[in-house]
């Protein structure tokens, strides 16, 4: 049962071949067995999940109508709100916070009878690429327990890779879905900016982030996207796509597809063996009838710096709300408002969050705003324009997702810049706003390598189509980590 795809599970539940309660129990059993080692989940909501499962089973017995996710267990990142369930962004400052409402993505999953199992570990406030910056401690990579699962949605990726959940949601501000998807050998998609509602996603950098699906197969990933995507009146930055996302367009047919391969995304930090695996997959696509061309996108040189300036600036502003007064943790401090506020934040935030608040405050402060923040926004225009013109000539852009295989726990956490450098291939699409998916494309010494496919605004079907062609050829979803 743990190996079944979400589409199969939902069909079996709907047709009464298996009970939703049995499905849910099987996955919680798996969690009980392996999560002591992996530490993907920070909070399980088993009682609620079982209640949901029984309700679904009753509906099946009465031959009632059920949704596309009937009885499918789903893991959700600890920055997405479920009414009445504690959500913390893996931060002490939100300890005890129970949202009074459901995120739109949660409401949409419930409406299709999906069952949320619990919340998964992450870098605090989604700031990181390793899931080490968590108040709960690090999550481990199921493929090699002394390595990071990637981040910031590392818990969601590890849960899916270790067969603890068939589907998960993550959020991606600069690669936080694609990085852990690549490091854990699963499929993860960052939708077009504005395609999925951020209502109920706890904010880090609003102009960059999107919630997106994570799964073991392209088909499951596409299924979850089809459910969460679409305009939401509660998020005014969502837009109606010119054509709604259509699952049936994801066929794995790549004949005639034009692929751009930018040399800047195979830069000096890229491990040669990673580049090799990605090139093998590109040549495979060529054999299937796609055409590729090596191209140059010179503005990408500035992408990492522009991304971090914008993300830190938005973070310093967004996180000003944590004052210890309205919700979450409040330090036991004497004194006036400023004193209590400062003390609460000192005790409540971890070091990476503090660093980003400091540097974001710097980039927004008088005298530096023009040189850093405004300049970064102009560079974002350059990058966006370069993507748009490249995607006039080509259908998709392919690169490695991560420049290296998963690194060791503790290797980079004391050297923030070296950690930021890991995001060099993932941040450009967040700046441009276009969608991108990471799909497994190989292993190096037993460690996963992911390939990134980016495409045009709202054309998720086109990038998933290329990802499916790779998946169908390589069948890497059948490989399993040996964690037990």
């Amino acid at each position: 049962m743990l190996r079944l795809r979400a589409v199969e599970l939902a069909r079996m539940v709907r047709e009464g071949e298996v009970k939703a309660e049995e499905v849910i129990e099987a996955f919680y059993e798996r969690v009980a067995k392996v999560d002591g080692k992996v530490r993907a989940f920070v909070r399980l909501i088993k009682e609620r999940a079982l209640e949901e499962a029984r309700r679904i089973d009753q509906t099946v017995a009465k031959r009632g109508r059920l949704g596309k996710l009937a009885g499918v267990p789903i893991a959700i990142k600890d920055n997405i709100c479920i009414k009445g369930v504690e959500v913390t962004c893996a931060s002490k400052i939100l300890a005890g916070y129970r949202p009074p409402y459901d995120a739109t993505v949660v409401a949409r999953i419930k409406a299709e009878d999906g069952i949320i199992m619990g919340l998964t570990n992450m870098d605090e406030f989604a700031m990181g690429s390793s899931t080490e910056n968590s108040a709960y401690g690090p999550t481990r990579n199921p493929w090699s327990l002394d390595r990071v699962p990637g981040g910031s949605s590392g818990g969601s990726a590890a849960a899916v890779a270790a067969r603890m959940a068939p589907l998960a949601l993550g959020s991606d501000t600069g690669g936080s879905i694609r990085c852990p998807a690549a490091f854990c050998s699963i499929v993860g998609l960052k939708p077009t900016y504005g395609h999925v509602s951020r209502y109920g996603l706890i904010a880090y950098a609003c102009s960059l982030e999107q919630i997106g699906p994570m799964a073991r197969t392209v088909e499951d990933c596409a299924l979850l996207l089809s459910i969460i995507a679409g305009r939401d009146p509660k998020d005014s930055t969502t837009a109606n796509p010119p054509r709604p996302f259509n699952l049936s367009e994801v066929k794995g047919e790549v004949k005639g597809v034009r692929i751009a391969v930018p040399k800047e995304l195979f830069g000096e930090g890229t491990e040669p063996r990673v580049a090799e695996e990605v090139w093998k997959a590109i040549h495979l696509l060529e054999e299937l009838g796609a055409k590729y061309e090596e191209v140059s996108m010179p503005s990408l040189k500035y992408a990492l710096a522009a991304y971090y300036v914008i993300a830190m600036s938005e973070a310093s502003s967004n996180l000003a709300r944590y004052d210890g007064v309205r919700y979450g943790f409040r330090a036991n401090a004497e004194g006036d408002w400023s004193k209590v506020y400062s003390k609460t934040r000192e005790e409540g935030f971890g070091p990476e969050v503090k660093r980003r608040i400091i540097l974001g405050t710097f980039a927004l402060s008088a005298g530096y705003y023009g040189r850093y923040y405004l300049k970064a926004l102009k560079v974002r225009s350059l990058i966006r324009n370069e993507y748009l013109s490249m995607l006039k000539k080509f259908d998709v852009i392919i690169s490695p997702t991560m420049p290296t295989p998963p690194f060791e726990i503790g290797e980079k956490v004391e050297d923030p810049l070296s950690m930021y450098m890991m995001d060099v291939d993932t941040v450009p699409v967040n700046l441009a706003g276009v969608p991108a998916v990471s799909v497994p494309c190989g292993f190096i010494d037993g460690l996963p390598v992911g390939l990134q496919v980016a495409g045009r605004f709202f054309e998720e079907a086109a990038i998933l189509n290329v990802a499916l062609a790779i998946e169908t050829e390589l069948k890497l979803y059948s490989k399993e980590p040996e964690v037990a």
Partner: protein, 96 residues
């Protein structure tokens, strides 16, 4: 124009952000963030003459909706998460 992130500046920024730091943090952040800031200076090289800043990527503006009343949170729900409260009020530290 050469900017350096000094310990003094880090302390000042921390004050602006209402974020107390201990001495060890001031020291390590100054060192770590100086490296990051040096890296950010690559932006100086980008040719952006005449380029408009992109505040958002979809170029949406003034998204409006009808002003229709709908359900809102009850006072109990709205106050449920406040660490300190009195009656229907949130208790805040004194301002002055």
């Amino acid at each position: 124009m050469e900017e350096k992130l000094t310990e003094e500046l880090v302390k000042h920024l921390a004050w602006l952000a209402r974020l107390e730091l201990d001495e060890a943090e001031v020291k390590s952040f100054t060192e770590q963030l100086s490296k990051v800031l040096d890296y950010f200076k690559i932006l100086d090289e980008a040719e952006t003459e005449g380029i408009e800043p992109a505040f958002n990527v979809l170029e949406l503006s003034n998204v409006m909706r009808e002003d229709e009343p709908g359900p809102t949170l009850s006072p109990e729900e709205a106050l449920a998460n406040a660490p300190l409260k009195e009656g229907e009020y949130i208790e805040a530290p004194r301002m002055v």
